[in-house]
Structure formats: structure tokens, C-alpha cells
Amino acid sequence: MDTGPVGRATTAPSPPHAGKAAPRGELEIAGLSCRRGDQTLFSGVSLSLASGELLFVRGRNGSGKTTLLRILCGLTEPATGEVRWRGQPIRRLEEAARRELLYVGHRDAVKEELTPLENLDIHQGLRGERGDLERQLDALEEAGLGGREDIPVRYLSQGQRRRTALARLLVSPARLWILDEPLTALDRSAVAWLFERIAAYLREGGIVVTTSHQSIDGLPEPRILDLD
Amino acid sequence: MWDGIGDFLAMGGYAGYVWGSYGVTAAVLLLEGVLLGRRRRRAHALLQRRTRRAAAGSQSKGGNER
């Protein structure tokens, strides 16, 4: 019916347990398609991610990467298809299950007038986690914001602002990270740090879905979803 | 019951009110119909143009586009 640019999803490399008897992954995506206006952004996206897997979503500008990520965390409703997290529909997760998901969006939810430390504290409060000052300071230190914990974010650079957002990954326990363009504005050392962090997280059994326009050499071998 | 056209139009002294009501109502409903008709013709014309263009395109390019 629509003749807009229809993205074809290819998942490669395919999971080793292909076939009917595939064990359920933790994040299951079935037959997703998305429409904006009367254009179809992508359709027929199906895959399943198990513990320790990294999914890299690739595509041109406007191919629907951000939208796909938003669908994955349940912000946007897909035109067709569904997303399940451990068997539960993503838009109807229970409280405990919602804590397992951590999303750092394109718009990074950092408040300009607050300090990195306050931002982190708000973030934890919102997720119902107990704010632990030591842990928060450690996270900021590791994210390269040592000594700047107490300066309102509006006086910091874009990259430091982004680091503030990414420091959340360190304070919140979660099973699934969804990171939209996390490398934007990061310098080389920060990128290296983030890749290392992601690798460690995957080794611990976490799942990561991410996008980027930059090179991802240095990350563990990802599964790739091409939206073009 | 009316004594000729003049009496009818005078509406027992309420001409302005009565004809004001019915006149505006008729005008507004008519306007709605006209505007809707115009919008309808425009939509049809656009769609027909699109169909023709698509038909021409499919003949020259092998019918990949609709």
C-alpha cells in the first residue's frame, strides 16, 4: 500500500540457534514496522537478543534508528509488531522489569541548571534507586568529570554534558542498555572508555542496543541491524 | 394566512430577526457545501494527476513506481 522507502532488515550474523526450537532471548522483537506520516520507515524487523549480546543499528539519517530505539524501550508504539522483554510486552512492564532497562536518548535528559552530581541523583531518584553519594562520585570520576561534580552543567562542554548522561550507566543496575548515538561529542579517550565499559557490561551478561555514525572499532563483535 | 408577499416578508414586524436567522443559516450551509465541493474536486484532481503520472512513468521505466 505504501511505496515509501521500505527498509529491509537483515540480521547478521544470524543467531546460532536458528530454527523453530530457538530458546527465547531476553529481548524479543517480532515483525516491527514503523510509519511516519504516510512513509514507511522500516518494516519486518525481527530478532531476539540474549544475555551478553550487542546489537548495532545502522542506517542513514532518517532511516528510523532513533525511532527503532524508542520503540525498543516502549516510548513509541510501532505500526505493527511487538517488543517483549523477558516475555512481557515492553509497554506493559511491571515496576521491577522497568528498572532493568536503561535508556540514554538522543536528548540526554541532563538539566542545564543542575550540577552533574545533582543530575545523577535525580536520575536515581526517578528510578527509585537509593542515591549513594560514594557511588555517584565514583561514577563521575570514572566518566572523566572528577573535579567538576559541582559545576552546573551549563558551564560544561557538550562532551562533558554527554559524559554526565553516560555516568548513569555506572550507577544504575540494569540488564539492558539502549544508547542512542552515545558517541556524539565524545573525545577519543571518552569513546575508548565507553567501549571498555560496554565490553565489561556484556561480559557480565548485559544486553546493549546502540547506534552511531562513528566507527565502532574497538567494540566487541556486534550483531548488525541495517535499516537502509 | 399571509396577506400577500409584503405581509409575509414583514413577518409581523420581526423581519430582521427572522430573515436574519434563516438567511445566515442558508448562507452558511451553502458556503459549507461549496467549500467542501471545491476541496473534493481538488483532491480528485490531485489523485487523478498522480495516477496519470504513475501510468506514464510505469510505461517508460518498466513499472517500478506507482
Binding site: E77 | M11, T25
Partner: protein, 273 residues
Amino acid sequence: MSSRSVPWLKFTAPANFYALAQRLTPWLWAGAALLCLAALYIGFFVAPAEAHQGESYRILYIHVATAWMGMFLYLLMALYGGIYLVWRIKMADIMARSIAPTGALMTFLSLWTGALWGAPTWGTFWVWDARLTSTLVLLFLFLGYIALHGAADDREKGGRAASLLAVIGAINVPIIYFSVDWWYNLHQGSSVIRADGPSMAPSMLTAMLLMIAGIWLYSAAVVLRRAQVEALEREPRSEWAQAAAAGRMTRTQRELAAAESVREHTSQEEGQA
């Protein structure tokens, strides 16, 4: 909820709806014209002058009809809005959006004719009584719905936001009515407005009922026509729309398009379930 289990659900497919509306509207136009003319004839040439109000009461035929229609259309719009919010049936949004302009028009006409009737009857064009105030609010709700529907960057989003507004408004209008009514009567005592005329001559009643039916059919015709255009404009790429615009939609095309939109809808539902 398949289209087979409930027969009329097939009209949730724009293609089917279009065909149905195509068949219905000529009859609705004809009926509206006929009934309105009959109402005017009886109202102006058969019904006598009213004892207290003289000839000015003849405004009431059109006033009552438009006032009822405005309110009825609002409720219908809110109902379609609610359906759209819950089931995401695109056709419901198309219907709600198509109702809004006609509803606003009817509400405006009821205010206009009401003022012109009130001037000779109560000596003033406007009173802040419950009916007038809530009708005015109703007009603003219609306008707000239209504005909000068009304001969002994405039509679907705008439709959902506007539908939510329509539903909230539907809950609010009675509250507004009762609060203003209570307030007004507290200050003015029982108002003149109550005196609608104790007993109506049968011919008056006939004219009024005919006029209501005529306006009803008119609204139905306009709304269906507008919904047709709206459906065409929203799916300009679809085959059925192109055929419909050329005036030759075949049965097979219609069925194909309908099957397509049913499939789309059910897969969406499964996604939600």
C-alpha cells in the same frame, strides 16, 4: 475482533467506507432538501403565529434544530475520538475530524439564531445563562479540537491529542452546564428562558420535528462527504483512492484494500495484546 464477527466493522476500512458513503450521500442530500423544504412550508405557511411572541417564534424551528445538532455532533465526535484512542481505528479519527467543522457551524448557528430570537423575546441578544454559556463553550471546544488536530507535526499524533481533548470536553460540558445553571438561577431566580411556550400547536411541532430531521440528514451528508475527501487525502498512494478519484472503484479493488487495512489493524492489535 475480526471483521467477520461483527459485520459493520468492515466499514472501518476506508475503501469500504468510501463506497458506502458514495451510495448513501445522494439519498441523504435529497432527504435533507425535501425535509427542510417541507419544514419551511409547514413552519411558514401552515403554522399560525404564536400568541405571545408573534411571528418571531418561527426562528425557533431552525434554532432548536441547530442547537440539538451541535450538541449531538459533539457527543458523536467525542465518541469517535474515544474509539480512536482505544482501538486506533483510523476511520474513527477521520469521522471525528469530519464532524468537527459541521458541529462548530451548527453551534455557531444555534448561538446566532438564539440571539436573534432572544432580542425581541427577552429584549436582549445575550444572557449569561447556562444554555448560552455552555453552548459558547461547546463552540470553543470544537474550535480547539480543530486547532489541536492541525497543530501537531504528525497527523496521527494530532488526532490522538484532539481525541483526548474531545473526550475531556464531553465530560466537562455537563459540569459547565450545571455550574452555570446553578449560579444563574441563584442570582436571577427562575428565568424567563424557561418559558418556551407551554403548548405548541401540532403544526408547529411537526415543522420543528421535520426541521430537526432535515438538519440531521444534511449534517450526515456533509460529514460523510467530508470524511470521504479526508480519507482520500490521507491515503493518496493507495490504489483504491486513485480508482475512487477516477470514479471507478471496482469491487475487487475495494475488497483488496479492505483486506489490507483489516490485516494491518489486526497485526497492530496483536502487537498491543
